[in-house]
């Protein structure tokens, strides 16, 4: 098989699976699951062949639409960046598929679920392969759609329905900018092909900023982060795959794709957005009681890290002088962001699947204060989850997260002290809330019936955990990948000296230590009791955005809509139209009333007519 065929196979397998499920297997959930998992396994195998086969940048492009001089094509740009992303998506995707076999075993709408997963894989891979912005946008939207479907899986729950709706609409807001950016880019440069654009393009900050809007939506950056925590209404595997490992990372991936278009001012905006998101989400995570929400906020936070990392790539010198050095510098941002994306994909997927395992084990109990003592009930989950926690808090050399976080902190330290400080503080918070979670879930004694009857899931659930745990451990060592991703790995900034390492260690210990001090495995939130003021502030911080948005939706948008509707119904349809027709009707009544039935009145008309005509002939008019 040529690489092109492989790529197409990778792309079309999940689509075929989705189509088959939608058309034929709607009622056969088990079969649908098998088909979907098989498709995913197949695509993973082919994808890995493709990735490790070493073929890169093979030409593949087909025109999809042409109107006037506008042409939209579908093509494949397969460089190391894409290969890396493909590998991540394939591996994590496969893990989640397999995990879902167990997790969703008893679900009544398995076919829909697995169909959705397949559509998602198709869409996500489309983004990965895309060689132009329009194509990215197309799959971008599809990804959003599949996310909507999957969040909405438990559609009989109002909260799930609301969350799905919210996710899609918020993403649409981001896509508003994204699409405008693409269109602007098209008219500015005459093309949206990534390769061509990389070669030459018109510098403009508006284009990258508009495109970044897309990433803000998809990667849930401030101020569009609100949908992601709510998206946890979806089944946990979905959260793992879509809302942690891959889809939300698509924003980062897209940014890396359009990296050549960046300008310093755009990068600065991006950097601060990422930093703010990282910090904000970390603060929010502290007060969460729901295991998935904690993870969701941590995802947000880590995404903020990645965005910040990308923005940090900016080095103020970029574009100020020509030459290779600045190019290297910005690419550092790409390297750091992608590196963190990779490790995060592994460990966050691991943790989400772990939480899934916990939730499954606890009979769909998600409140961490009602768990506890799962260390002994679910040892494998405990072990793998612990690895995940270690990874995210950046335990040096033990887990993958360390390396990527290290790279980002290093970059920040080099570029911007303020950002560095904030990110470091975020890291403190991260280890604080992750350890809190870990303590509450796994240590102590079970605090509820569900927790005390917890049990490990089947092989299909544990196997992915193990695989991801392994990856979370070794994933940080870039050497293990061979040289297939060198195009990306070579961009990772490497800290020289131990300063960053020390900082990393310090923040990790500080956070974790505080958590150990504050929290005991108990049925109440220790922080809330010890520092209610702080806790309240954090809760308020978390809810502030929702408040604002809810206020907007309920009080502004809805009222504005009602007002316009009122104007339409009363003003336009009522006053103008009905009034106008009423006026005509009155005229009609008047004209009708002229026929009074009295002969004399009619003779007057004749008199009038004769007189008028006489006057007319006499030249009065």
């Amino acid at each position: 098989m040529t690489p092109v065929q492989q790529a197409l196979l990778v792309l079309l397998l999940p689509l075929a699976s989705a189509a088959i499920i939608a058309l034929f297997l709607r009622r056969a959930g088990a079969l649908a699951a098998v088909v979907s998992v098989a498709a995913c396994a197949g695509l993973a195998a082919v994808a890995l062949m493709l990735v490790f086969g070493g073929a890169r940048n093979f030409p593949a492009s087909w025109e999809w639409l042409r109107l006037g001089d506008f042409s939209l094509s579908i093509g494949i740009k397969f460089d190391d960046l894409a290969a890396l992303m493909l590998a991540i998506v394939a591996v994590v995707g496969l893990c989640v598929h397999v995990f879902s076999l167990g997790y969703m075993h008893d679900d009544g709408a398995k076919a829909r679920f697995f169909g959705g997963l397949s559509i998602f894989m198709f869409s996500m891979l489309g983004i990965v392969f895309a060689d132009n912005l329009f194509m990215i946008f197309i799959f971008w939207e599809l990804v959003g759609f599949s996310s909507y479907l999957l969040i909405n899986h438990y559609h009989e729950r109002q909260s799930a329905a609301d969350a799905a709706k919210k996710a899609f609409i918020v993403n649409r807001v981001g896509d508003f900018g994204f699409l405008l950016g693409i269109v602007m880019c098209y008219w500015l440069n005459g093309t949206v092909n990534l390769t061509t654009l990389a070669e030459h393009h018109v510098f403009s900050s508006a284009v990258p900023l508009l495109l970044f809007c897309g990433a803000v939506g998809k990667s849930a950056q401030l101020p569009l982060q609100v949908w992601l925590p709510d998206a946890m209404e979806g089944p946990t595997p979905v959260s793992a795959l879509i809302h942690a490992a891959t889809m939300v990372a698509a924003g980062i991936y897209m940014l890396c794709r359009i990296e050549p278009l960046m300008t310093p001012s755009a990068l600065t905006v991006i950097m601060w957005t990422g930093t703010a998101t990282a910090l904000y989400a970390a603060l929010c995570a502290i007060t969460q009681r729901d295991i998935k929400k904690v993870l969701a906020y941590s995802t947000l936070s880590q995404l903020g890290y990645m965005v910040a990392a990308f923005g940090l790539g900016s080095l103020t010198v970029r574009h100020e002088v020509g030459g290779a050095a600045p190019e290297m510098a910005v690419a550092a941002g790409v390297g750091a962001a992608m590196f963190h994306l990779t490790t995060h994909a592994f460990f966050k997927a691991l943790m989400f699947l772990g939480s899934g395992s916990v939730i499954y084990g606890c009979h769909h109990e998600q409140d961490i204060f009602k768990m506890g003592g799962l260390k002994s009930k679910m040892p494998l989950t405990f072990a793998t989850f612990t690895i995940g926690v270690l990874a995210i808090i950046g335990m040096p050399y033990v887990a993958a997260g360390f390396f990527s976080k290290d790279a980002i902190l290093h970059l920040a330290m080099e570029k911007n002290t303020a950002v560095f400080a904030l990110l470091a503080f975020t890291a403190v918070l991260t280890s604080f809330y992750m350890v809190r979670l870990w303590i509450l879930v796994f240590l102590g004694a079970p605090r509820s019936d569900e927790a005390s009857h917890a049990h490990e899931g089947g092989l299909s659930m544990t196997l992915p955990l193990v695989l991801l745990a392994v990856l979370s451990v070794v994933g940080g060592y870039t050497a293990i990948y061979g040289h297939v991703f060198d195009g990306v790995w070579s961009l990772i900034p490497h800290a020289e000296g131990v300063s960053v390492l020390i900082v990393s260690l310090a923040v990790m210990t500080a956070g974790a230590g505080t958590a150990f001090v504050v929290y005991r495995p108990a049925g109440f939130d220790a922080l809330e009791q010890k520092a209610p003021g702080l806790f309240g502030a954090l809760v308020a911080l978390k809810e502030s955005f929702d408040l604002v948005y809810n206020y907007y939706v309920k009080k502004i948008q809805q009222r504005f809509a009602m007002l316009l509707n009122f104007l339409e119904q009363i003003g336009l349809a009522g006053l103008v139209i009905r009034g106008g027709s009423g006026l005509v009707g009155l005229l009609g009544l008047g004209a009708r009333a002229l026929h009074v039935g009295n002969l004399h009145a009619y003779v007057y008309w004749f008199l009038l007519g004769a007189a008028l005509l006489w006057a007319y002939a006499a030249g009065v008019f």
């Binding site: 007057y604 008199l607 007189a611 006489w614 006057a615 006499a618 009065v620």
Partner: protein, 173 residues
């Protein structure tokens, strides 16, 4: 002489015409109409239209007005019921009069009536005129004469339809 006659007849005619309009009593109105027609017939004579004058008196004053009178009697109206004077009537009448006056004044001012012809002296004897009249009627205007025949026929039929008692048809209320 004929001038004086003209003004006499004209006054007579107009006066009796006003009588038709102004008279409360329908019988009197009919009588006035007859007088008016006689006046017009006199004017016809002044205009040398002797045949028409005769016809007018015979057909109109004789037959038509008689018919009117007959009907008035038949219907036996209780005089004119006094109706309140209508403002509308007055306004419209005044307006119409004013319009007409304006029209006549403009007519005068334009001096266009000055272009009216002076009388052509036919000079032919009455008999010759009558002959020409008859010739016209039965050559040029033969078709209208035929049509008039039909008109009279349908008028007669109409009166029958509207008035005649048809056996068995009349008694529906």
């Amino acid at each position: 002489m004929s001038d004086a006659l003209f003004y006499l007849f004209a006054f007579f005619t107009v006066a009796s015409a006003i009588g038709v309009v102004a008279n409360k009593n329908a019988v009197n109105a009919a009588m006035c109409l007859m007088l008016c027609l006689v006046g017009v017939a006199s004017l016809f004579v002044l205009l040398d239209a002797y045949l028409l004058a005769a016809l007018l008196v015979l057909v109109y004053a004789g037959a038509v007005v008689a018919l009117f009178l007959f009907i008035v009697m038949l219907l036996d109206m209780q005089g004119g019921v006094k109706r309140p004077f209508r403002l509308m009537t007055a306004v419209a009448s005044v307006a119409a009069l004013a319009l007409m006056l304006v029209g006549v004044t403009m007519l005068k001012n334009r001096g266009e009536l000055g272009s009216l012809p002076a009388p052509v002296d036919v000079g032919a004897p009455v008999g010759a005129v009558l002959k020409g009249y008859a010739e016209l009627l039965f050559t040029t205007y033969l078709l209208p004469v035929q049509i008039i025949g039909f008109l009279l026929l349908i008028a007669m039929l109409g009166v029958i339809v509207l008035s005649k008692k048809f056996e068995g048809l009349e008694d529906i209320k």
